[in-house]
Each structure stands twice: as C-alpha cells, then as structure tokens.
Symmetry: D2
Subunit: 400 residues, 4 copies
C-alpha cells in the first residue's frame, strides 16, 4: 500500500485553505489541469514528487469553519471558481473537514482575537501547554489517517510584530521559558515548535515570525527536521522581484516605487489593524533595496475594500530616471484572486518540503526562496535567481 | 597618444543618433551620471572598456540634418532632455555633424524614400557601387579623425520585409550579383557588407534585415570581423522578455497578450506604412512563444500619434489562467522616451563590440542578446538568461 | 386582464438577447434588484412604465440558438452571471425560446453570412419577400401571445457599411425598388421596414444603418409610428461622451484620444472583418469632434481576443494640453461585460419606446439620444445634456 | 487711463502662485494661447472680463521666495513649463515680486510653521493685530500700484482642521474675541476677515476653513462684498464630479471608489502631516455620497513622493455593480501638473469674482461651484450642473 502524507493547515477555515482543499480534491479526481503548480512543470517531473492522491488534509481554525463552506463562499461571493466544481468535490471536503480542530490564540493580537469564536478556539495557560495540545492534534491526525509524515503549513492571518526580545535567545534559554504564562511568544512560533519537536517539517506562508528565530533554527537542527518561510510571494511582491532586477540590469535609476493594494477578504480585514499591517508592509518593501543596491523612496499601502472579496488589486507606479536624467514611468495593475494565487504554491511547498524531509534535509530550505517574500536561509531576492536555485536543487536530486 | 575609435551611425539625423551625440558629449565633459548605461555597471568595470573621451561620431543621413538641430528638436518639442544641456555640448555636436554624409537609398521602400531629401541622399546604379561609396565615406572618416577602428551602427528607420530569395544564397552567389542593378538587396544589408568588407564590426539596432543573412554570416568569417543585431530591445519587448519567464516559472497559463504601442516620432511615421510595420511586429511578437513553450493569442499594434513625439507609450494586457482555471489579469503601462531608452544601449554596444573586435572575436556576438528583440547568434529570449550571458562573457575576459 | 407587450429581438441568439431574457425573467420573479436599469431610477417612477410581468419575448436568429443555451454559455464561459440564476429562470427562457424564428440574410456581408446556419436562416428572392416573411413572424408572435404591441429591437452583429446610393432616395423611390433582387438594401433596414409598416416601433441598437435613411424617416411618418437608434452606448463611447465635455468646459486642449478595445464574443469576431469594423469605428469616433469643436487625432481599434469572452476591456489614452501648453495625460481602463451593459438598456428602450408609442409619438425619438452612440433625431453628444433631455421628456409626460 | 486690478496671493511663493505669475505675464505679452482658461471660452466673451494687461500681482509668503525663483524651480525640477518662457517674462516676475510681503502664522499648525522662515514670517499677539497688519499690506499694494480693487486669493498650504467652536458664533460674538490671543481662529480666516473688512472680495482656493463660517458670511453681508471657496477642483475630484453623475444616471451601483494620489511638491509635504491631510481628504471624499444618493465605501490616500515634484498622479479604482449584480471595474490614471492645473483657475476666479464685485454681488458666489471641491453657497456637486450654473450667470449678465 502506498504511503500517505498529510498537510496540516494552520488557518484551515480561510480562503487559501479552502482553495487548497478544492484544488487537491480536483487534482486527485483529474478534474483540472495542473495550471499554476510549479511542481507540475516538466523540469521537476523526474523528481517523483508525491502524487496528489497520497495526500490527506487537516488543520487548526479559530472560527467555526470547514472546507466546504469556505469553498462555497469563495465560489459564490468572490467568483473565485465555479460552484459546480465545489459540488463535484464535496465528498472530499466534508471528509477532510472532520480533521479540523479548534485553533489556538496566543499573543495573536487584538484583530485576530476579535475574529475567534470562543467555542472553536483555545487559549491555554502557558506556551508549553499550547504546544502539547497542538502535538496531540497532529499525532491524532497522523494516527487516524495512517500518515507517514505531516507537513504543517501556516496559512493563517498576519500577527502583529513579535517581541524583539525573543530574537537573541538560544533554544536552551527559549525552551526553559515556555512554561511562563507571560513569555511573549506568538502562536505562529508555538505551531512551529510543536511541529518540529515531533520531527515534522514546518512551512510558514505568512509574514508572522513563525520559525524565523535563532532558537527555532537551533531546534530544527536538534530535531533533524527542516523548515521554510516566510510570507508567500504571490502577487505584487512576486512582480517586484521580477521587475526590479531588470531595472538594475539596465542601470535605470528607480527614484520611487509606490504600491497600492486593495482587497476585501478576511486577511484584508486583519491587515486593517495597523499593528498587523506593519508586519506585512515590511515584508513587501524590503526586497527593493536588496535588489537595487540603493533605497528608492517606497510606499506600500494595503487597504480593505470589502466589495473586492478575494480579488486583490495592486497598482504599482515606478518612477525611474533614464539616460541624461530623463524621468520615465512604468505602472502595472495586477488583478489576481488571492486564494487562487496562494493555494497552488502551498501544494507545491508541501510536495517539495515533503521530498526534502524524506531525503533528510535539515534546517532552513533556502532553495525555496522563490516562494517567499522574506525567504529564510537565502539572500537572493531576484526571482530568476531564486528560481534557478530551485531548479539546481532539483537537478542535484535527480542526478544523485 | 590614446587610440581613438569611431561610431558611425546610419540614420545620423534621427532622434536616437542625436541623443547618442548629446549623451556622448555630456559623458566626455562629465556633465551627467552614467545612468542607463549597462556598460557602466560595477560588474563591467574591470573590462576597461574604451572611455568616452576616445570616441568620435559620424554617420549617414538621407535628410538634411545635423546632431545639433536634432537635439534641439528633441529637447523642445518632446521634452526629452533639457535645452540647456544641448547648449552646453553644442561645440561637440557641431564638430561631429561635419562627419555626416548623404545617405543611400536602395530598396528602402516607399515610406523611407518619401522622407529623403534629394540633395542629401544618393541612389546609385548598383549594389556594388553603393557599397563602394559607403566604404569611401567610412575610410575618409577614419582617416580624418585618425581612428583605430570604426563601429558602424544602424539606427535608421525600419525597412519593409526583405526579399526571401536572399535568404539561401551563400556569399559566393550573393557577391556575384551585387553588380546587378535589380538584385533586391536592401540598404541595411549594403551598409553591413560595406562595413564588414573593411574589417569593421557592424551592429544592426533596427528590425531591418541587415547582416541577418547566410551570405553575410559567411562574409564576417571571411573578413574575420564580428557583427551583432537585431532590433534594439528598449521598452515593451524588453518587459515581455522580463515578465514572460516569470509566468512560465509559475506555470501560469498565458491565454492572450495584447500590446498596444503609440508614439509620434519619425520612426512611428515610417511604421504607419503597413509594409514597414509588418517587419517590426514580427520582431516584437516572436519571443512569447519561444519563452512560454506554447503560442498564446497575441496582438501587437503600433500607431503613430503625433502629439506624443518621442514618448512611446505601451499598454499591455496579459490575460492568464491560474489555479482551477481562474482567469486573472496583469496590465502594464510603459511611458518611455524612445531615443532616451535607445541611445545608451547604442553607446554600450559600441563599447562592447569595440572590445570584442579588439579581442579578435569573429561572427555573430550572441552574448549581446540582451540588447536585441531578435538576437542573432543566440536562442534564449529570457532577459535574465541573456543578461547572465553578458556577465559570463565579461567574466571570461576579466579572468583571462 | 392586463395588456401584454412584446419585445422582438433581431439577433435572439446573441449574448445581449440571452441577458435580456435572463434579466426580464429575473425581474418578473423578483430575483434581482433593478440595478443598471435607467427606467428604474426614481425620477421616472411617475411615468408608470409597463411593469416587467407584462412583457413577452421572441425574435429572429440565423444560427441554431435559444435563450437558455445562450444564457448558460455566458454564465459558464464568460462568468457574466451566476449559473444558479439561469437555472432559476429556465422555465421562462424555454417558453420564450419557442418564439425564436429563423432569421434573414440580405446584403449582410461575408462575416455574418459565414456564421449563419443554413437550416436556421432564410435568404429570400427579393427585399419585399423578406419584409413580408418578417411581418408574418411578427404577426404570429402578437397573435399567439395576445400582444397589444410589439417593439422590435435589433441587437444583431454589425453589418458592413451600406450602399450610399440609398441615402437620398425618398420612400416612393425606395419602396418601388423593393421587388428588385439586386436592390442593395441590407437586412437591418428590411427589419425596420417590416416593423414600421405594421405600425410597430423599431429600435436599432447596432451600428448597422437600420432606419437611418431618408426613406425610412418618411415611412415612420406615413405609418404614424416611431423609431430610435443607433448603436447602443454602453462602455467606452459612453465614457467619451461623459469625459469630453469636461475637457471642453475646462478649455483643456485634447491633442489626441486613442481607444483600444479588446473582447472575445461573437460581435468581436464579426468586427474582425474590416468591412464590419469600419461601420463600428465611425460610430465610436464621431462624437469627439462634435463635442470639442475641433478634431483631435483619434485612433480607435477593436480587436477580437477570444480568451476575454464577453468581457470588453477598453484602454483610452487622452493626451491634452493644459495651461502654458503643458502636455498632460488621462488614461482609463474599462472592464465591462458587454451583454450585462447592453441588456438593461435594451429593456429600458422597450419601456420608453413602448410608452412613447402608446402616447402617439411619431418619427425619430431624439430624446433617447443618451442611449446611442450615433443618436437619430438629436444633435447633442454630451451625455449630461442627452440625459437632461430624457428627464425633460419624462417631466413633460408626468405633468400633462 | 484704464482701471487696474490686483490679485493678492496668500502663499505667493508656492508653485501655484509662480505659475499664475508666469501665465499672467505670458498672457499680457501674447506669448501663449489661452488654453485651460475657462474665462477664455467663447461663451464668456461677451462678458468683457478685465483683460490680462490690467492686472497686477502681489502677495504674502512665510518663506523667502519670489515669483522668478519659484518659476525657475518649477521649470527645471518639475519640467512644468519651458525655462525659456520664464526668461521671457523675467521682468514682470521681478517687478511683481517686489510686492511680496512676509506672511502671517496663526494657528497654522505644526507642519506649516516648520516651513516658515523666521525673518519672512510674522506671528503677532492677537488675531486683531494680525488682521490690521494684513490690511496695511493690502492698502499699500493698492496705493502703490494704483489699483481700483484687490482680489485676495488664498493658494497656501492646507491648515489642520479648525476648532469647531468657531462654527456657531455670529459676527458680533466672533469679532469681540479677535483681541483675545488665545482665540483659536486660523490664519486662513484672518486673511478673509482682513480682506472683507476692506470691502475687497475673497477667494479661498484651499481646503482650509477661510470664510466658511457663519460669522464670515455675516461679515460679507455687512461689508457688501463677496467671497467664494473652497478648495480648487483641479484633478481627481474634478473627474469624480464628472464621472459619478454618469454612474448615477445609468443606475450603476458604485460599491467602492478608491483614489490613491501621489505627488512631490510642498503641498504634498504638508499633507504628509495627518492633521493637514484629514482636512483635504474630507474635501475630496464628500461629493460621492452627495451625487450618488448613497455612500459607497471610499478610500482616498495622498502620499508625498518626492521624485514626482509637481506632477500629481492619481489612480482611481471604481468597483460597481451592473445588471444582474455583475461586478465591473473602471480605473483611471490622471497625470497632471498640479500648478499648471490650478493656476488658470486662479486667474479665472480673479476675473469672474472681479466682475461680480464690480456688479455689486454680495455674499457667497455659489455659481462658481464648478471651481471648487467643497463649494460654498451651492449644493450641486455634479460638474455639468455646476458648469451650467456658471453659464447661466454669464447669460444673465450678458442679457441685462
């Protein structure tokens, strides 16, 4: 019998998670083409990534939610995909929804806590108790579904910025404080610890801090597991990482780069809170200076406009100097459906990280940088260079 | 005394040529930053490319024109650069204008011939006589200015498509017909022959056929000289070669790519003739299929809108399918000044080709592909890959 | 028992007709808000326009088509509206589809004829025979559905430009030639004649010539009936008629106005034929000179891009001079669903023209100018002035 | 000898004032066409508005500044107009600059005070002393230049929101407190009082409160003078007032209207202060609800991007529902030069208000509503209706 693998989604009731579920079910049943799946590109076929029918889904969620309702809402109110497709995969969505457990709040901030349903969310006395409870859920999922390995992927809403005092702690210092109720560690990091202590790989698709701490890098080494992050690069920032290198290569001087993002899903509502938004904007803005070698004036705004639903629209205005100092302008408008852009990357990450884990890779998987706005374990921000790293990794595996 | 080099511009009265002249003069005098010059990037500094003060300018032109008047017009009517800058470099522009000779018409098509001034253009009895007359001008330029080498760069308006019977001729067959007055070889090719027979390198910055013929590839080998082309990649197509690889890498399916270009300079007027436009559109469209691996529906239009002068505006609408077949849209608007975009690339090409020639490179310089819409001697159309080839070439020279 | 009225759609299988059917059915059943219906504005309520449940539908079509299939296709392939809505009104769509009769080809041009299904279209020996056959269908519709009045509305694809020799004929000259098989009168005009000879009102929502001939204006007077046209003003041209007056009022000098339209429905395919496109472009371009009082350079292109389906996207680039001659730019991008924009205006026209007909109005209804790109019987092209005329007409009726 | 009139600009060192000066001088000398001057439209010619050569300029400014330097900076750093034009009118600019007096700070807020040059600005002990000092400057200007009348026009930067306790005071209550140093009346209002007490007309081209107070409306009546305001309608809001009525007339339901404005002049810097920005955003946003009859979600942002200089770029995204609830999108991009847009309206207002004053009009000039974002004395916000009011006023004057 074939090995089974699990994807555990933190934020299982959100749009990304619902779309992951619809997509995975549709792929299993051969209802859709593998469009938008990086792992389905010809150059990765010889890797023998785990086929779609060997994956199970589950997750944590702080609201009353399931994959089927979430998918129906996206289909109907955001026109993200066809309602008929949701009906065709209903059975899978319902079955997977049985594996959704009440999520955990811990230093999650005002905006996220306000969303939580008190009967569907848990807030335990200490970080350690939270970790233990998460691990019970993960173990139960693996046991009930008979899974070889579970990849935990955080697709929940953005937390406020984390307490900077956490940055310098080593794992020894960090772990001893996990029993202190007032230890300011956020939920995203607790999920990462819970995952890695079980030896499972962890992926952070959000701008929240997650495993991006000295202590957690040590933990991964100790547990001989791998992790990847941070903040899925789906739309505007993806384009920044594609376009900015071209300006640099032509020695065109970018004077200012303004990006204005509007969208109306739950993530957008959370980002309307200035604390949460700050985390996101930093992640979206940092790469320009890195790529260009100087810091143009930048402005990135993100506004919640409810009528747009899951359709994220970005207008970018790039003001640059050409020869003889002549100012010129490039503008772009990106009209993408947030969950539709994110979900295939989540599935790709599950497969790539799953394989890396099987191959025994340890620590931050920097060769996955092309998937992230703030890549952990990597320095290049140019998309083409990041993608070349992914291809090189694949070539190394295939030739070995 | 330092060696001097010459740039000979075919189309010396056009906007690109005037801007090359203003820019070269301003660089010699330290009046401007090297913005937009690829050859000024840090990664190319150890190449010791010929400094700006060792270059002289001259060229052919079929209209009554000189660098100073051309520059003034661009400054005043198109606001391409400041009139004060033109005044500061007047002396150089006037001196270089002494080296502008009447240009040659030969199978140049109706639109170009209509522009020609009968006292400033020449139409000789045969291709061979034309070649000989061009060579006299090039030799005189080299002698009068005491030049080590002349790089001939075609920046004239686009010719109609060439006679396909030329494609298969070898140099032996080709050269014997050059005395036939009815041999359908266009002026762009005669300039290339004249140049290469003298052992000088030739660059074709236009979509005209130039040296892109079997016979001329042979000629370059015979004469031990080098050549590069075709059609400078300055704006919309540059962006296509930057963006299309990103869609491909993400497995996003491009359903259609529409590009609508408007501008109002002389080139635009020439392209209003359907014969000339056809040559250009092919050059702008071909790369998408090459990069994506399939052929989306494309539409590229180029319209002459006189009020825009030298400001070329492109609107591109990219309609693509994402996950679950969901259609999404990217649009961009590019507002660039045509001559300002082209001129620095012309200067870069003079320096890179000049160095290659000194180093004894022979044949098509495929590593210059990043500069061209239809690169000769190269297959990659992805900009990042093309730029990597340029860097690799430079690294090889620097390490040897 | 309440009076019943009929809408007879020429082009009953097209997207506009299907959307009219879905909308009318949904309004009857109270399934939708009256969004986008001008006749539903508060200022027209006292007119007591015929309520939605007193209208029946029928029409002519040259292809095998019915309202239900057309609606399903729009819902599924163009995402124009929800498939669930189509299901809810299926019964009405099926019943109305019984009243779709094979359409007539007559000087319809190559592009339209190529679309026709030979079993679903008719091509009779002479114009007069065609008229008679149309009238039989209209009479049968009125009789079978027990209709007080039938309003015939042409929503079919654009014909090539008409033979200019028709322009100057009076009705006497015109009518005597209707028996000549080679009389170059197009189908759009035959439908108008058939309608008006029966004393019914006629509306031409297309750029085809229809009733816009001296002879047909006379016919309307003779038959004491009314007619309105030409070419529904739904998207880009609507915006031109809104924006151009503002530029004029501010004395901003429009130097050029470029409009680039892309869409992928059947109308777009027909307009890919240069003969048919010419008819449309004239209609889209003429108003600027009329409103501004001078003729800026204009360029209007319409391209068939199949992936867009019914979604018509227009990019307009307006280059204007401000104070001190400074050039400035306004651009707009309009992303509208063609049928969704047109259908409510068709329903509005049925109600307004129906009332006018009941009130005994005769001839061209110039006060409906706001609905048309090339309004018959009206000179003003400014949208706000045209809309004021509609309101004034309504106020006169309400006060009398 | 002809009568002379004066325009007194509060904020004489800003870009708008410099452009007013260049434009007025160029019009006097016949160097430019009257493009962008509403008062130059054919429909206003019979009004016999005061010709350009009968106007003198002066003003207050809190920084070291003069018309010539301001004009040169706009020409050179923002490419707003040609440097050659500034040279041609230098003599006028220098002469008018002699009439620039140090400006007054009074409850002007942090951002404006930070800009002030201590030697060029004055801050007196009480509102009344400030008023008196302003009046001395205005009287001196009138005397020195032998002026029949002075029209004071505020073109300075936006103040923070005013103290709401001022709103309900009548002139009696208000005037008695002008000696209190802590009376929270802002400078914009003191300029208005000073002007109207002298019987001169006052125009407020800024969003600051100015004369928009009950007490000042009374003062105008008492002094038998007229005033107009508030906040010149130059770009994005002008377009809102043109487009929103069209959506309303077509019963299209605007769900959200997002406007993102970027620019880099001094006004932009001031608006970077949240207090000042709030005043502006209210003025830009209010009209939509007024025109549409319901309040769509709106978002207006204004960001200071220094590379843009005086070029204000607005991206507006209008999300609306059409028939059957189908969501559609209009976007526009406006690239205008702020001073170039504002200056001709300032000159128009001087002429129209000057004539109204000569004709004895008293109070708020509501028929000037088309010039303002927050029109005083008028309720209509639709541009076409506002413009019709201006034409009606003119027709009444011409027929009387």
């Amino acid at each position: 019998m074939k090995q089974q693998f699990g994807i555990w989604l933190v934020g299982a009731g959100g749009g990304v998670a619902s779309t992951v579920a619809v997509g995975l079910a549709a792929l299993r049943r051969g209802l859709i083409q593998p469009t938008a799946l990086v792992s389905a590109l010809p150059c990765f076929q010889a890797l023998n990534l785990t086929p779609w029918d060997q994956w199970e889904l589950g997750g944590h969620e702080i609201r009353a939610a399931n994959f089927f309702d979430g998918a129906q809402q996206l289909a109907n109110s955001s026109r993200a995909f066809s309602p008929a497709l949701v009906d065709q995969v209903r059975e899978d969505l319902v079955r997977w929804s049985e594996q959704i457990r009440p999520g955990f709040l811990y230093n999650s901030g005002q905006a996220i806590s306000a969303l939580a349903d008190s009967r569907q969310s848990r807030q335990l006395d200490s970080p350690r108790k939270t970790i233990t409870a998460i691990q019970e859920d993960l173990r139960a999922f693996a046991a009930e579904r008979n899974l070889e390995k579970v990849i935990v992927i955080n697709v929940s809403s953005t937390e406020p910025g984390h307490d900077r005092s956490l940055d310098e702690l080593d794992w020894q210092q960090f772990s001893t404080q996990l029993d202190r109720p007032d230890f300011p560690v956020p939920a995203s990091t607790l999920y990462a610890i819970a995952t890695m202590e079980l030896g499972f790989p962890h992926v952070n698709f959000t701008p929240s801090v997650g495993s991006n701490l000295r202590a957690l890098r040590e933990l991964a080494e100790l547990q001989q597991t791998c992790h990847a992050g941070r903040d899925g690069k789906t739309g505007e920032t993806f384009l920044k990482s594609v376009l900015a290198p071209a300006f640099a290569a032509r020695n065109l001087h970018v004077m200012s780069w303004v990006g204005h993002n509007i969208f109306g899903n739950l993530d957008g509502k959370i980002l309307d809170d200035p604390n949460n938004k700050a985390t996101k904007v930093v992640s979206k803005d940092a790469l320009l200076g890195n790529i260009l070698g100087y810091a143009p004036q930048t402005h990135t705004s993100i506004e919640y406009i409810s009528s747009l639903g899951d359709w994220k629209t970005a207008w970018d205005h790039i003001h640059f100097q050409g020869f003889l100092g002549t100012p010129m302008i490039m503008q772009f408008i990106w009209q993408g459906c947030d969950s539709i852009l994110a979900a295939p990357l989540v599935l790709d990450l599950a497969r790539f990280v799953g394989l890396a884990s099987q191959l025994g890779e340890i620590g931050e998987l920097g060769w996955l940088a092309s998937f992230f706005k703030s890549p952990q374990g990597a320095s290049a921000q140019e998309f083409s260079e990041q993608f070349a790293q992914l291809r090189s990794w694949a070539e190394r595996q295939m030739s070995s």
